[in-house]
């Protein structure tokens, strides 16, 4: 019996070896060597930096490929296999492949040989993916929007499905956090959590505007800012502006939230790239104290002369970065009566103002870091967790860069205290992230080594999430968020809007959001700043 099993084992081994030699190696003599890199989709280029804990970089080869032979190896694992044009790496094997990189930087080397439908064999130069030891935050949340005219106008027919989803970056798990199907088709905007902490989240309900949902653990409450007329504040008419929460930024200590109060309007589009369907007006910044449940109107940021928007805190909480533009003058309105034309002449500076968290007051003076210029308007500052730099958008006009061919710009903030302003004229380390289309909605991972941003580079229309490495000086080549099926983005008809990192899974679920929507709104107290 033993002998039988011995021979059976040998037979199976030989058979397996024979089989593997048949399947894992194309005939060497008839393979043409290509000088061009392998045509992968998504384009995971040679030299791309990837995190050690990212999900497998599955991809798809062109439709002209019938069979592909792959050899992939790192210092901790290797494998050779035969596949069709849809290349899927087993999750367990991928974990082994990237295991060594958790200690030190490693390289994954991938050799691809293909047989086309015409029967020709082609071998491509090896691809190297640099696996970095810095892990990426394990979760990514994003809004999935339909690619429709006025994606946010869910009132139009009331059928647009808008969802907030959470993707586990270490595998392909994805779940719905919020869906407007459970919320009677409300539009909800910019979900924000304090520095990647998913236990707290703020989401505004719009159209109809019903207030903001505050999620804290598994609790939810609905808050609504009061009308300025009712609050009984003594303000000159010029400062009596509408108060609505739009873009929030949580202070690192989580006691304060800076909120912009934009009036967002207009719908329209241009022939090709510049989809102008949002214009900011009457925007200011207010402070919301989560402990005392009060809104503070600080005169430094509640002004009649400027539009202030896009608040962002420095990691130490001592500075509030924001963007501002002079209020549109009657002359400008007279010169450009068409709102679509006027919006092109509104440009925002990048500013910051000192903040004292103990008293909740801002300094008197605003420091302008970058001055707007023709064809150059700044928006969406996001400070790196080490506080040494700001990643922001530079667009042609307006404060909505994803409609105006926005590009990303990295500004070093060290030593800026001694300067009046900075300059973006010098080299921009974020140039490697930019394309001919719009890049925007960026966010830093908790360790500051990774940045995620939305880009329309695929086709100028569908915004997709890209991830890139940053070593403190230089950014790596960006790569598209990997999906289980390499064909996913070809078939996808949704926009990935506002991708943000999270350190852990969120406790929010559609049921909780639906409950929150039905809660009575609590009106927040309003007071003027101390000055």
């Amino acid at each position: 019996m033993k002998t039988f099993f011995f021979f059976l084992g040998k037979f199976l081994c030989c058979g397996g070896l024979l089989l593997s030699s048949c399947t894992c190696r194309p005939p060497q003599d008839s393979v043409a060597k290509s000088l061009e890199s392998a045509p992968l989709f998504p384009d995971y280029e040679d030299g791309t930096h990837i995190p050690c804990n990212i999900a497998p970089l599955n991809f798809r080869l062109p439709d002209t490929v019938k069979t592909a032979w792959l050899e992939i190896r790192s210092s901790s694992a290797q494998k050779a296999f035969k596949t069709d044009k849809n290349v899927v790496f087993p999750l367990r094997f991928w974990k082994r492949l990237t295991a060594a990189a958790r200690e030190r930087q490693d390289t994954v080397r991938l050799c691809i040989t293909v047989r086309g439908i015409s029967g020709n064999y082609t071998s491509y130069p090896p691809l190297r993916w640099i696996v970095c030891p810095e892990p990426i935050d394990p979760y990514l949340t994003y809004r999935l929007l339909p690619s429709v005219e006025g994606a946010y106008s869910v009132g139009k027919g009331g059928y647009n499905v808008m969802e907030l989803r959470e993707r586990h970056l270490e595998d392909f798990g994805e779940r719905v956090l919020l869906s407007n199907e459970n919320m009677r088709r409300n539009c909800f905007n910019c979900h924000t959590s304090p520095a990647g902490n998913p236990d707290k989240m703020l989401v505004h309900l719009r159209r109809p505007s019903e207030g903001s949902l505050f999620f804290e653990g598994e609790n939810v409450s609905k808050k609504v800012p009061p009308a300025l007329e009712k609050a009984g504040l003594e303000l000159p008419d010029s400062l009596r502006m509408p108060l609505s929460f739009v873009y929030p930024a949580w202070h690192p200590k989580e006691e304060w939230i800076a909120l912009s109060t934009n009036m967002i309007g207009i719908n329209g589009y241009t022939p090709q790239h510049q989809y102008v369907d949002i214009l900011d007006s009457a925007c200011n910044i207010v402070l919301y104290n989560t402990r005392t449940d009060q809104i503070v109107l600080d005169r430094a940021l509640w002004t009649a002369d400027y539009e202030e928007t896009w608040p962002a805190w420095s990691p130490d909480g001592k500075w509030l970065y924001f963007c501002r533009a002079p209020k549109t003058s009657p002359d400008t309105v007279a010169r450009y009566p068409e709102i679509g034309e006027r919006v092109r002449h509104i440009r925002f500076d990048l500013c910051r103002i000192a903040f004292d968290a103990s008293t909740g007051t801002f300094a008197d003076s605003v420091q302008t870091l970058l001055y707007a210029a023709p064809g150059c308007s700044y928006s969406m500052p996001r400070v790196r967790p080490d506080g040494k730099g700001v990643l922001l958008c530079r667009a042609l006009f307006n404060s909505i860069p994803y409609h105006a061919l926005g590009d990303l710009l990295y500004l070093r903030t060290e030593g800026l205290e001694k300067q009046d302003s900075a300059s973006d004229g010098s080299e921009n380390p974020a140039d490697i992230l930019n394309s001919e289309e719009s890049e925007s909605w960026h966010d830093w991972s908790g360790n500051g080594a990774w940045v995620v941003f939305g880009s329309k580079r695929q086709n100028g229309h569908y915004e997709l999430p890209y991830i890139a490495y940053f070593d403190g000086e230089h950014f790596g080549k960006p790569f598209l968020l990997p999906q289980k099926n390499g064909n996913f983005y070809h078939a996808n008809l949704r926009l990935f809007n506002l991708p943000t990192f999270a350190r852990a899974a969120s406790p929010v679920c559609p049921r909780l959001a639906a409950e929150g929507k039905d809660l009575p709104a609590q009106e927040i107290e309003l007071r003027l700043g101390a000055k």
């Binding site: 339909p146 429709v148 005219e149 969802e163 199907e181 229309h461 996913f488 078939a491 008809l493």
Partner: protein
């Protein structure tokens, strides 16, 4: 028993097929099939996924489920589930019969009674279903209206505007509102109509307007619909349930292609995936030089059964337009030329989407003056309705050029000829020299001239109290002159769908 099962299966299958055939409506049967088959392809699965479900394992199963959640799928699911129950119980009866009730009264009961009972249950369910969805079952009035609407929509989609008009007119001219309604501006028609028919009329009116535009008869025949308040009273699609889809067709005609592919996505968000519309998106994306977007949609079409060929043609056209490949086939070149012509109509600058087709058409005209005959006709009609005669006269040269009339005698639409007669009467012959020149070389429709004279006679009689508003409306309601002197064009934003105040 096997015969019963087979009979039920056949009946159920037939019913399923019938349901499927009814649901074709919007497109042709085969394009619907293509959409249907495409949803079973695993790579398309997430497109058909019921919103809220995560991507990942079980894509194919979810695709099935997603398909069953809407439209005919829901009906097919119900029928199939009913059939399954019948089969299951029949099978149980069979087992019971073989094992326990082989002899005696039980045998007859099982053989005839139980299957008959379940067949009755099944039939009752179907009848109940039929009554709850009257518009989808043969024999009901709503069903007939639905068929008219679906056919008109399909004909408009396929650019068969004349046929669409014939079909729509059969309904309109057999269901006019009363002359009293036209005179008083009231709408007593809706009092006797079901909600379904009211919505049907709004949709059919919107399709009719697009068909008139596509057939270049908007300025020729528009006023003949004076007894159809849904058409005569407004030029916008506001209120029509299929408004966005109709805007797609209108914008396709006027050349506003940026709006076309945006609005198509809006329609698909509401109605579900349509590969026919996706193909329209490819055309519009190429017209706007959005090659990346066109490539994305072409790739999706390539995965379908019936659009694969078209997708391949569009891919060649895209290549040709980008790189001017020398080996392009005549078919490729012809389509590329068509797309290039569309580019001359398309936007050059920002356009504000106010939700008003008229405002967009005017903005398009400002950016691309005299680029599209359809756009000109659309704007000219709104000018006629607002009685802006100078504006229409200023567009005459463009009209002649766009309609290819370089030599006299010139031919103008009926409404324009009437307008010239009315303006000549009003201004006692003091017309711009260029217009006078056109009038001298115009191929006048003598019947219209005669009709206009008679109208002025009748108007005089009305003024003297020798005629009634009903009489003049009956005789001349279909003319521009009547509209000019007695009607007030009401925009949807002002008074909804109620029109014709005097």
């Amino acid at each position: 028993m096997p015969y019963l099962a087979a009979a039920l299966l056949l009946a159920g299958g037939g019913l399923c097929f019938y349901e499927l055939f009814l649901s074709v409506g919007r497109h042709s049967f085969f394009t619907f099939q293509s959409d249907f088959l495409a949803c079973f392809m695993p790579w398309n699965a997430h497109l058909y996924m019921y919103p809220g479900q995560p991507y990942g394992s079980g894509d194919l199963l979810t695709a099935f489920a997603g398909q069953f959640y809407r439209g005919w799928g829901a009906v097919a699911y119900q029928v199939a589930a009913g059939l399954l129950w019948v089969l299951l119980f029949t099978f149980l009866c069979r087992i019971l019969w073989v094992n326990r009730l082989r002899e005696g009264i039980g045998k007859k009961l099982v053989l005839w009674g139980l299957p008959a009972f379940w067949a009755l249950v099944f039939l009752t369910c179907q009848v109940g279903l039929a009554f709850s969805n009257q518009n989808t079952y043969w024999g009901f009035k709503d069903y007939k209206l639905g068929r008219i609407l679906m056919k008109t929509e399909r004909l408009v989609m396929e650019n068969r505007y004349e046929e669409a008009l014939q079909l729509a007119d059969r309904y309109w001219f057999s269901h006019p509102c009363s002359i009293d309604d036209v005179v008083t501006g009231r709408n007593s028609l809706y009092a006797g109509l079901s909600q379904t028919e009211i919505l049907f009329r709004l949709d059919l009116a919107a399709y009719t307007r697009v068909a008139l535009l596509g057939a270049h008869r908007l300025n020729e025949d528009f006023f003949t619909y004076y007894r159809v308040p849904e058409i005569y009273g407004q030029i916008e699609e506001a209120g029509a349930p299929a408004g966005t889809l109709i805007s797609v067709f209108r914008n396709r005609l006027t050349g506003n292609h940026t709006a076309v592919y945006s609005q198509i996505m809006n329609v698909m968000e509401t109605e579900g995936m349509s590969y026919f519309l996706l193909e329209q998106s490819v055309f519009s994306a190429l017209a706007c030089q959005q090659y990346g977007l066109a490539d994305k949609y072409i790739r999706l079409l390539e995965n379908t059964l019936f659009y694969r060929k078209d997708a391949s043609l569009y891919r060649q056209v895209s290549e040709y337009l980008q790189h001017r490949t020398a080996t392009a086939s005549p078919k490729t070149r012809a389509l590329a030329e068509q797309i290039k012509r569309e580019r001359n109509k398309s936007l050059t600058d920002y356009i504000y989407t106010s939700g008003s087709g008229e405002a967009e058409a005017r903005e398009l005209w400002r950016q691309r003056p005299a680029a599209s005959l359809e756009n000109l006709e659309y704007i000219a009609l709104t000018d006629l309705l607002y009685k802006r005669t100078d504006s229409v006269m200023a567009r005459m040269g463009d009209y002649l050029r766009l309609s290819g009339q370089t030599q006299p005698p010139y031919r103008l639409p009926a409404a324009w000829q009437e307008m010239l007669l009315v303006v000549a009467e009003e201004r006692r012959g003091q017309l711009p020299p260029q217009v006078e020149e056109y009038m001298r070389h115009l191929a006048w429709n003598n019947a219209l001239v005669k009709q206009c004279r008679m109208f002025y006679g009748e108007r005089e009689r009305l003024r003297r109290g020798m005629s009634s508003p009903q009489q003049i409306t009956q005789a001349f309601g279909h003319t521009f002159a009547y509209n000019y002197y007695f009607s007030r064009f009401v925009t949807p934003r002002q008074d909804g769908n109620h029109a014709l105040a005097h």
